[in-house]
């Protein structure tokens, strides 16, 4: 990891104002922001680790854990909530045995919850990568995820 970090740092000065671009590049390089990388970034831009950690946890685009092959985003906006998103959420967590923001052991799926994605007419809604699935119920959701997993393991034509 040291080499990868150094290659990112090489194009920066180590100024405090560079924090966010540095984090972005590090994430690009490593796929996520492991603890050790956050410590090194903090040292590099001379900011407290707490500050860098705070920034990394504030922006949704930063990830502190490795990300799976597929990203499931379940909408928890008002419309989806009213139409049973939380039951869907429970099932997803159950099927994949993950919590919010976590990745399955086989590194296949990362599960995230998001605010309204603007498809309220289809509520409850989730996306897997760039595909949208609407009018979900727990069973339908489970099937969709299982199918997605199988398809992609067969050669990933999706």
């Amino acid at each position: 990891m040291e080499e990868q970090l150094n290659s990112v740092f090489a194009s920066y000065q180590g100024e405090k104002s560079e924090l966010i671009p540095v984090l972005q590049d590090v994430q690009e390089e490593l796929g996520y922001l492991p603890e050790e990388a956050i410590r090194e970034v903090a040292r590099f831009v001379r900011l407290p680790e707490a500050k860098v950690f705070g920034v990394a946890t504030f922006y949704a685009r930063f990830h502190l854990h490795p990300r799976g092959e597929h990203i499931i985003r379940l909408c928890c906006g008002t419309a989806c909530h009213v139409r049973g998103a939380s039951k869907v959420a429970d099932r997803v967590k159950d099927v994949l045995s993950v919590g919010v923001g976590e990745t399955t052991e086989d590194m296949k799926f990362t599960y995230e919850e998001v605010a309204c994605i603007g498809a309220c007419g289809l509520a409850p809604v989730m996306t897997i990568d760039d595909k949208t699935f609407g009018k979900l119920d727990p069973d339908k959701t489970e099937k969709t995820i299982k199918k997605f997993g199988e398809d992609s393991s067969e050669g990933g034509e999706a």
Binding site: R46, P48, E49, A50, V52, F53, G54, T57, F58
Partner: protein, 812 residues
């Protein structure tokens, strides 16, 4: 710019442009509630509890960020405003635990107060309450983030003021929180346990462990005292209930610490209650200590002193004074020893600072911090060499941070990163031992580029030509090679220092018991003279002492060659003045120094020794064996202390003394500020204030001293000591006074050498040695024991305190 006039709640007021509505209202005595506002942090306008209604403005405005405008008409308590505040409180209360009955903050909690003020009893929003577990990982405070209202003050204090950077906001939305990186416990963070977050939190989220279950705010009386640890002399409020200190908060209104403390001041006072405290006089009989009455102990001392005096003469008696004693105690101590006919009185730890004292004596003709601590905040550039103020004198590091926030350039020259490196625009990781070369190179560059203050040099200094010739002997390339710092860095550091209107230098090299440090002190003095950075505000040389009253104890004349105010024993007029006042003859020969005596082993001329609050047995590292030998050879050893120390164990008589919170008196901090410390609780058992013990003993020795209290002692001292002449307890009450203060209408002296140096002209000294001076890190490795010696009295306190639990691993 002209003043702005506005109307707040029907009252007119004129304020400076840039004043916020909140500040203007406060000037009128109107109380607007605030959560996230703090005068020393940038306002973020996050909580909005401070909203007010401005006529003609559509929305309510946050008064802590909105500037006052001309002809504004402001209402701070209109119905609209109050409804808005109620709504905010209601939201906060919705996910607040509301366990006010047991909460330590009850009575001092802003959330509770404002809910009471605006009649918010419960929330109309039913919110989810957070269920985070407390962080009580450490020995000092509990963090209950369920009570946190996310005002962010602790984050600002920790990052900007203290520079520890232990905590920040994490995540966002409902799960947003404040805490250390990686959700670690505070114990595993970079927290230095300064306690500032605790003192600033508006609610009960951060609670010091010492006060858990100890008392309610209304049961507590607060007594103002001075922290006994270091030479900054922070002012503290001691919280007392039933003759017990149960907490400490910083005083906010004094110029020294302005509401800030470090771990020692905040948490280090619990040694007061240590089981090791001495509570009765002890006499050694057949190798064991027996508790005796004061009369017995004092009679025995008087008999033995008389006997030594008759058999060996007065010069066989010596007094060793701790730099932790009050001015009153040390003044009376040297008076007593001198009244016995000898000048053998010294303060052991003073020799730790000899390089700083000698260097400044040579350059300026007197030795003390040239400027005040608070002035640092307004300086334009700061050079930190061979010092780590964040470790040694935290409050100085807070002021440095403040200066940088105000736009100052910071130059840090140290082989290793120190606690201020993160902030330094110029960090110079020079090679070990090359500090003099670095400072000389800066001087060379300043002269070469014509940045020196020629008018100052011409008018106020001497020795410039020789100095100029000496620094010009080496090229910048030479310097770059010796120091390991490139030419460009050297140049930009020199320009930063010389280019500032006012620039200050901070170094603790003098505190390192190393003769070589003297060269660096002289080189730094040269640099300040060269740029005219002396005799004016926010400039000068800051070489802070270690122990809290080292300055005062020296001022009081607990030194072998001088009486109080550095008046020479060898001068007849001085002796006559003191003889008249004391009604006793004063020996004309300077006494022996502690360093001489303690290394004389079996051959020592000293037969009776009286030690105040010093523990030389463990203090002086390698010389230990010699010291024990010397002490064992005495006919009679008296130790007056608050603890049974290794040295006390060797004594013939032990006298139990009061500690800082148990007596009234004065201390003189490292910026020459004389400050009053008060009694908050009674001493344990039969322990007595040191000054009173000495005065009582004087009676047993046949002297007729009558003092009604410590202020009597102080008054006698000021009548004999020109630097202190204008001071009295009354005048010291709020801000203290900095010496010299020659008369009762004199305001004290913040800045030394305005117009004139003590020796007349400031002296440039050639320090032509490129490699002689060890850097801070080198010292801390090679002379660790010696450095430790300078802190030994503090150690005997801190090792009996909860702060002994705090061990920061070196990696910063």
């Amino acid at each position: 710019m002209s003043a702005i006039e506005l109307t707040i709640d029907g009252k007119k007021i004129e304020v400076e442009p840039g004043t916020t509505i909140l500040e203007a209202a406060r000037q009128l005595g109107i109380d607007i509630p605030t959560f996230c506002y703090d005068p020393e942090l940038p306002s973020n306008g996050a909580c909005r509890i401070c909203v007010v209604e401005v006529e003609k403005a559509r929305a309510l405005v946050a008064s802590c960020v909105a500037p006052a405008g001309s002809d504004m008409v402001v209402h701070t308590a209109s119905e609209r405003v109050i409804n808005a505040r109620r709504a905010i409180l209601s939201l906060l209360v919705a996910n607040h635990p509301l366990d006010c009955i047991t909460c330590e903050k009850t009575g001092e909690c802003k959330l509770q107060d404002y809910c009471y003020r605006y009649g918010v009893a419960d929330s109309e929003f039913s919110g989810e309450v957070k269920e985070l577990s407390d962080d009580d990982s450490n020995a000092f405070f509990v963090r209950d983030m369920n009570k946190c209202i996310l005002c962010g003050i602790c984050v600002g204090k920790c990052q900007d003021v203290i520079g520890a950077g232990a905590i920040d906001f994490t995540k966002r939305g409902f799960v947003a929180n404040v805490g250390p990186a990686f959700e670690d416990s505070i114990e595993d963070s970079t927290c230095v346990f300064c306690g500032l977050c605790i003192d600033s939190c508006p609610v009960g989220a951060l609670i010091p462990k010492y006060s858990l279950g100890k008392g309610r705010p209304w049961e507590i009386t607060k007594t103002r005292a001075v922290c006994p640890y270091c030479s900054i002399g922070c002012n503290v409020n001691l919280h007392v209930k039933a003759n017990e200190v149960i907490g400490v908060t910083p005083v906010e209104t004094n110029p020294v610490n302005r509401g800030h403390l470090c771990i020692k001041g905040k948490f280090g006072w619990d040694y007061l209650k240590s089981g090791d405290r001495l509570t009765r006089p002890l006499i050694k009989s057949n190798g064991v200590f027996l508790e005796v009455s004061w009369e017995e102990a004092l009679a025995l001392i008087a008999d033995n002193i008389d006997e030594v005096k008759t058999r060996y003469g007065s010069d066989a008696i010596m007094g060793l004074c701790s730099p932790k004693t009050t001015n009153e105690e040390s003044y009376l101590f040297q008076k007593l020893i001198r009244s016995l006919g000898t000048n053998n009185v010294d303060s052991y730890t003073r020799h730790c600072h000899a390089p700083a004292v000698d260097g400044m004596m040579e350059a300026f003709g007197s030795a003390a911090m040239t400027n005040s601590i608070e002035e640092l905040s307004d300086t334009g550039a700061i050079l930190v060499v061979a010092a780590d103020p964040a470790e040694s004198h935290p409050v100085i590091s807070y002021r440095v941070r403040e200066a940088v926030r105000n736009g100052a350039q910071l130059i840090v020259a140290d082989p290793e990163p120190i606690g201020l490196t993160d902030l330094a625009q110029h960090y110079l990781p020079l090679y070990e031992g090359s500090a003099v070369a670095l400072v000389n190179a800066m001087a060379y560059i300043i002269i070469e580029e014509g940045l020196q203050d020629q008018a100052f040099i011409d008018k106020r200094t001497e020795g410039y030509a020789a100095f100029k010739a000496a620094v010009s002997k080496y090229s910048i390339q030479d310097a770059a090679e010796v120091t390991g710092i490139g030419e460009e860095e050297l140049r930009s550091a020199a320009r930063a220092y010389a280019g500032a209107e006012k620039a200050a230098i901070i170094s603790t090299v003098g505190a390192n018991y190393s003769a070589a440090g003297g060269g660096l002190v002289l080189a730094l003095a040269n640099l300040a003279l060269l740029t005219g950075n002396l005799g004016k505000e926010s400039a000068g040389l800051y070489l802070p002492y270690g122990e809290n009253n080292l300055q005062g104890v020296s001022d009081m004349g607990a030194l072998p060659a001088v009486l109080s105010g550095y008046q020479l024993v060898k001068e007849k007029a001085v002796r006559d003045k003191f003889s008249r006042s004391w009604k006793t003859e004063i020996n004309q020969n300077a006494g022996l120094s502690a360093a001489e005596v303690f290394t004389s082993g079996e051959n020592s001329a000293i037969k009776a020794l009286y030690i105040l609050d010093e523990n030389p047995v463990t203090c002086i590292g390698e010389e230990n064996v010699e010291t024990v030998q010397f002490l064992a050879n005495l006919d009679f050893l008296i130790v007056q202390d608050i603890f049974m120390t290794e040295t006390a164990a060797l004594a013939d008589v032990i006298l139990p003394a009061a500690a800082f919170a148990e007596q009234e008196g004065t201390y003189t901090n490292t910026e020459r500020r004389v400050q009053l410390t008060r009694q908050a609780v009674n001493p344990p058992g039969e322990a007595f204030p040191g000054w009173a013990i000495i005065a009582e003993l004087a009676g047993w020795l046949g002297f007729e001293w009558i003092y009604d209290g410590p202020s009597d002692v102080f008054d006698e001292m000021t009548s004999l000591t020109p630097q202190y002449a204008g001071m009295s307890y009354e005048r010291l009450k709020t801000r203290g006074l900095q010496w010299p203060c020659p008369s009762e209408d004199h305001p004290g002296t913040a800045v030394l050498y305005e117009g004139r140096f003590s020796r007349g002209l400031g002296l440039f000294t050639v320090v032509d040695d490129q490699t002689a001076v060890p850097s801070r890190t080198e010292i801390s490795v090679s002379s660790a024991a010696a450095y430790h010696a300078c802190q030994c009295q503090s150690d005997s306190m801190s090792k009996r305190s909860v702060i002994n639990n705090f061990k920061r691993d070196s990696g910063r």
